[in-house]
Symmetry: C2
Subunit: 439 residues, 2 copies
């Protein structure tokens, strides 16, 4: 079912598949807007300095040079440009540039392509759509925003005809406070080990921690924490058993419990704690989130993010934020491969107006124009031919109706029903007007 | 009014401006779909070989290399990639790759960004949105399709609240047949001179033709042809006075007249002949089109295209096509600069639910959620504060209503009207539900 593409990692769809992708995007967009998020788009290209700002040299970035430019000169050009690899870095720049015209806290969404220069053999997408929401504050950002973004994403993904999702949440302050109370200074190291828990299991994690110089006690206690999952009540009970004394840990835990409780009221059954979530904890400073789809856990997280104390800063002012990003292409790819969602046809056309001879094309065009004026998508037959052939042509395209001008009749070629029709008043059956999304 | 951007040639908009851009895009998209065009998107990136296929080395192309790749190695890599500079080259590749799954003639539209590596000082866009329609045939493509695309674009642009447009049309066969009848072999050279007519005037064109070796008679006769404009009747009269004997010329003229007549029936007053239109005549093989906006002729052509005998070919089969491309960013840029179209607010939010204290936030969220469930965009106040401050905050954002939970009242802060409201049944006045596009 998946269309074989000629350039690995650059997905493309046939028209019927594109309709499914658009349905997914429109559904997500609708939820974003119902929650007060305003759309922006940023350019696809940033100065390399912006892209490498956060020291993200591990990211595979595509750099640009003009065809007419010498390669070595371009590589040494301080004004070199590159394609953005996410929507957060461009957004940070946009906020700093436009803060005079924005009202804070600023809630925005962006749905755009991003590019990552992965090696082709890795099988990963190199070009894909992300759908991001972020709330950014001027100098401060209240905690309730960290709840809000999780609720919005739960609704955006919940509105799609896909299996139930789970948003797993953790909090940097919990992990950091805990590490500090255990006398662990290399928090980044601890996080890197915990991030591998799913891949290499508890034994493997203990080994890696030993290599970092953590004691057996520290390592085991970290694992004990990482194994804590579930509801607010479960987390409260399990964490109290850890016997931690740390203000930072307590602060983080309070936030986590508050989010779980709020989320359970507004989007019950979706948000769960998972203290093994470590990805991103090196730059996020509060809540972190990952999202899996039931039965499709091998997709990995389809929606991730967290809170950062400083999205952007100009040296004087700081702009804290919280955001989440859906990997739309990865999700759409799975939806299409498993045919979870399909379009009833690949063309928007509702009616094909038959053309008996090229002399009657003008009259056929006039019929089609009248239907269009009333919001009904129509086309005239590409070629004059016998009715049987034109019906087959419409059928081949998935067009549900054929209009016969001379007799002023319209035939539903799916049901076979044929009837007289007045071009100024006729209506198709509602389910045939537009391509239907079924899932 | 135009937002100053930090990277010349890469336009970005504020949220209210983005709403205008989306309105323009949705209006165009609706017309495309009413005429039976199906959407596709292609990847942004193509192998350099594809981009340079038509010998378009004059186009400024952005080439890519991965950050981790050596610049010289990347430049010599036959598999080097680049950003697409239009949507026709990618479409040609897509057709060849997917022809087994497409029904011909295939009518598709694409609305995507393209990139051109112009020099920054030239002031041109380096990243911009194009909206293209193309009809492509398998081996053959009937002439009526060349009429159809002009009609569709006339309607797409006509549906926008901008001044009237004029689509100027010419035909390669006219120019080529005429040149041949005059004994001119260097048709490309003749076209290059004619293309400068508007810039350097008739005297300048005569000089340039003399430099190419055309005789005074040939040059003057070419100018006589280029000055022919207007309706079918005017063109018929003027061309008959040229006294041309050429089958090719006659064929082109017949097509041109047919298009003018058909277009005049379906989109009266829009399509006019202009035999000075020369751009693109070196690769188009039939009709060519350019479009200007009344009063904004200095924008140049906002929608151009033509018919080509071979969009794509695999050596065995040829796929002729006809297409037109709207320079959306150029148009939107002018619309925004002149405030031809504006959005009534920059946020989607209809209602802000006031929050008297952080303890009442949960109740406020519940109110907002109930409104959203009924399709009304809502947000809770970012911060608990006095009512006056919250009203000012809503006003600052452009949100029309403020909801007071304790008294179950809603206030329209634009009109000042306040009333009791039931959260399960209240409706905003229709013009405030969503941002309104005014133009």
């Amino acid at each position: 079912m998946a269309k074989k593409v000629s350039l690995s990692g650059f997905p493309e769809w046939l028209p019927g598949q594109r309709l499914v992708e658009r349905f997914v995007l429109e559904t997500i967009r609708t939820q974003f807007e119902l929650h007060g998020f305003a759309e922006i788009e940023t350019r696809a290209i940033e100065p390399v300095g912006e892209l490498l700002k956060k020291g993200e040299t591990s990211k595979e970035i595509y750099l640009l040079r003009r065809l007419q430019q010498d390669p070595v000169e371009a590589a040494n050009d301080p004004k070199q440009l590159g394609l953005h690899f996410d929507l957060t870095v461009p957004f940070a720049r946009y906020v700093l540039e436009n803060r005079g015209q924005l009202v804070f806290p600023f809630k925005r969404y962006q749905i755009q392509k991003v590019w990552r220069g992965e090696r082709p053999q890795d099988g990963r997408f190199r070009e894909f759509i992300q759908a991001d929401i972020d709330i950014v504050g001027d100098g401060e950002l209240a905690f309730h925003n960290e709840v809000e973004v999780a609720v919005v994403m739960a609704r955006a993904l919940g509105a799609l005809p896909i299996p139930p999702i789970t948003i797993r949440v953790n909090n940097r302050k919990i992990v950091q406070g805990y590490c500090e109370s255990l006398g662990i200074e290399d928090i980044e190291g601890a996080l890197r080990c915990l991030d591998k828990l799913e891949k290499i299991g508890p034994e493997g994690v203990l080994e890696q921690m030993a290599e970092l110089g953590f004691s057996k006690n520290q390592s085991q206690k970290l694992l004990d924490m990482a194994e804590i999952k579930g509801s607010a009540a479960q987390v409260q009970a399990a964490t109290s058993r850890l016997g931690v004394v740390s203000d930072l840990f307590t602060q983080g835990l309070t936030e986590l419990l508050a989010l779980l409780e709020q989320a359970e009221i507004r989007v019950p059954g979706i948000v769960k704690a998972d203290l093994s979530v470590a990805r991103g904890l090196d730059y996020y400073t509060g809540m972190v989130y990952e999202t899996t789809v039931s039965g499709h856990e091998n997709l990995g997280s389809i929606c991730s993010g967290g809170r950062y104390d400083s999205l952007a800063s100009d040296g004087k002012r700081t702009y804290p934020g919280v955001g989440l990003s859906i990997g739309v292409s990865r999700l759409v790819s799975r939806i299409l491969a498993e045919q979870m969602v399909t379009a009833s046809r690949g063309v928007p056309t509702c009616v094909m107006v038959a053309v008996t001879s090229e002399e009657t094309r003008t009259a056929a065009d006039a019929i089609a124009d009248k239907l269009r004026a009333r919001g009904i998508s129509a086309e005239t037959a590409p070629k004059a031919s016998k009715f049987g052939k034109q019906i087959r042509s419409a059928d081949q395209r998935g067009i549900p109706y054929v209009w016969f001008s001379e007799s002023s009749e319209v035939k539903n070629i799916i049901t076979g029903h044929q009837e007289s029709a007045n071009v100024d008043t006729w209506q198709p059956e509602p389910q045939y007007l537009r391509p239907q999304i079924e899932g």
